[in-house]
Assembly symmetry: C3
């Protein structure tokens, strides 16, 4: 297996494109990270909209530029709306991202994630434990934190991607993104990104945003990971704790440009 | 049509009155902005309380100083609680604010907003697309963002206000507030206010707070817009991105005084 | 009645233990404070997980290190999940914290809180009005804010603690923590802690975190109060308003050490 990296030029070009087109990103995410996710999308240049009712989500998924479905606090009621939205996105060709938070650790959501997976997500983003679980090769993690390094899930990610015809992104110290054939590595970021709730969840939303403007879901996922990693490094360098870090992360996403990307 | 502005003295007097009386503001708002809305209310000097269950919302709406109902993530269950609360507020004489987020863009919530409008809100606050839709003269916006300048909705706002005997506030680069006859213009603010989620939603909550202390809903809506615009200008001047801006906005709301209002 | 205080050494030792063991803290809390609560737990060194579905909460309550149940925005659906989680925690021996937000002020949640109290919480944390109400000796507060000083509820707290075999913590200018016999006083903190939404709610979550590592629920509650008070003092000293204060509070929780605790 060979692992490639994405040229900085493509990251910068997609970021410019995102800011110009401000894609509408439909988010159905967990109740912990709604506000932070919307702020991350606004900071990077997208237009977030949380539409969660079963009466509305399918209608909106069909017109959005991208959709995120995150099962972090899924209930029977929200699962129904998520399935309807996923079906609608599939039918309309809206690229959508599945974030199977804590799949493998809790039976109910593992089932919900498996069902959603049948509706052709463009990208599945999770930590190693979650991806190993979805691929049927792992025993699951401890709640939201992975028990495995991201490199241990590369093969499972490739298998899962090939089976479902989607891109799979494994988050960790190094992020890996694969469409089954190509594997892209995105190093960087900062440990502080794990001390603020919702950074991983927001990454899924940013992938949905780039999916609306990038040339492929593979590139969208890798660009999103790169942008967040770069902003995270810059934010960590300027702050002393998770409070200031979260604030600076938004500011860095807002000001990030080609020069900053090249400087890394 | 002549457009007036509110004297700074009245803004300062109402702000002082708010801080002295710390009105209890009942919020039924969308899941994206709950925390930020509560923090904006606390910063400006009000006492927020989110009471959302159908078992409790009517009871609380009757004793609160003001009520905000925002349909941003309305579901069938929360719509039922909102209708009950609106009825209770109407019966008890509690001034309440309707924020019809994305009315016109999505059928279900457009219906919910139209139903709520029958329960005599003191103020309806929205962007131009939302107000045009409620007035029956527009085709709706792109999710939460308006497709129209606020000035294009002044006439629709006056019509809507006259029909329902309420105040209508149209947010935009310039905010307009009308009771059907008088139109007040509130210029100012900063574009950064659109790069943080929930600033518009929080404005609705601040209107509900001032409705508890101002001499009229018209004045309450205009004072709230002025206070948020002034704090937004000061926050933008001191920060470089949306993360720092949101933090500074709360600090400016907390420290805003007559001198700062006169300085604008 | 004699009132003692906790030695700084124990606070520092428990804080070190928390950071080493990073206990999994299961939170079922109100929709206003989810994100802030998770960030407070991450900052202090715990591992938060919000698991709210009735299908999952009992399973998770049995494996978590501690559980928080906060009725701030309880509905019929979430009450069912909370009861199931409380039963599971009781059966599994998971220490859990009940935060009866606004009990006494609203009939429905007062009933829910009373039911939950039957499932042997390790700690009940509230303001004076809430504790007086649960103990059957008070008429309830104005929504989330207490109408009484914390010292007025010490006797009620002791009665409640003795009756239910739990620890009761009364928050206020001085926090009091009792197991019925011993009363510990935790002075300190800063008024700014009441100008940011969710500081009290987060304190309940921090108590659940320390309950997983401290030698007793009494010590856990007192250590949590001390840690938050110390961080609050340091944050207030460095900031000028509630926006910056909330950010600094997270940074201070992250960096707080024995030297800072001794300096107070």
């Amino acid at each position: 297996m060979s692992v490639a990296t994405l040229p900085v030029d493509r990251v910068a070009a997609d970021l410019a494109s995102l800011r110009e087109r401000t894609p509408l990103v439909h988010c159905m995410t967990n109740i912990v990270v709604t506000g932070f996710t919307a702020n991350v999308l606004l900071a990077v240049g997208a237009s977030p909209a949380m539409v969660v009712a079963v009466e509305e989500a399918p209608e909106f998924a069909a017109i959005a530029g991208g959709l995120l479905i995150n099962v972090g606090t899924v209930t029977a009621a929200s699962a129904e709306a998520m399935r309807a939205a996923a079906r609608s996105a599939q039918a309309a060709g809206t690229p959508w991202v599945l974030d199977p938070v804590a799949a493998g650790a809790l039976a109910y959501r593992t089932g919900v994630a498996a069902e959603l997976l049948e509706h052709a997500p463009a990208v599945v983003r999770g930590n190693a434990s979650e991806i190993l679980s979805l691929a049927g090769t792992g025993a699951g993690g401890k709640g939201v934190d992975s028990q495995h390094g991201s490199d241990t899930a590369i093969e499972a990610a490739q298998t899962l991607a090939a089976k479902h015809g989607c891109v799979v992104a494994v988050s960790g110290v190094i992020d890996y993104v694969t469409d089954g054939a190509t594997v892209l590595a995105v190093p960087g970021g900062d440990p502080m990104m794990t001390r603020v709730t919702g950074v991983g969840c927001a990454l899924g939303a940013v992938m949905a945003a780039f999916a609306a403007v990038s040339e492929s879901p593979l590139q969208a996922a890798a660009v999103a990971s790169t942008v967040l990693a770069a902003a995270g490094e810059r934010a960590a360098a300027a702050t002393r704790g998770p409070g200031g870090f979260a604030v600076a992360l938004l500011d860095e996403l807002y000001t990030l440009d080609k020069a900053a990307l090249e400087q890394r």
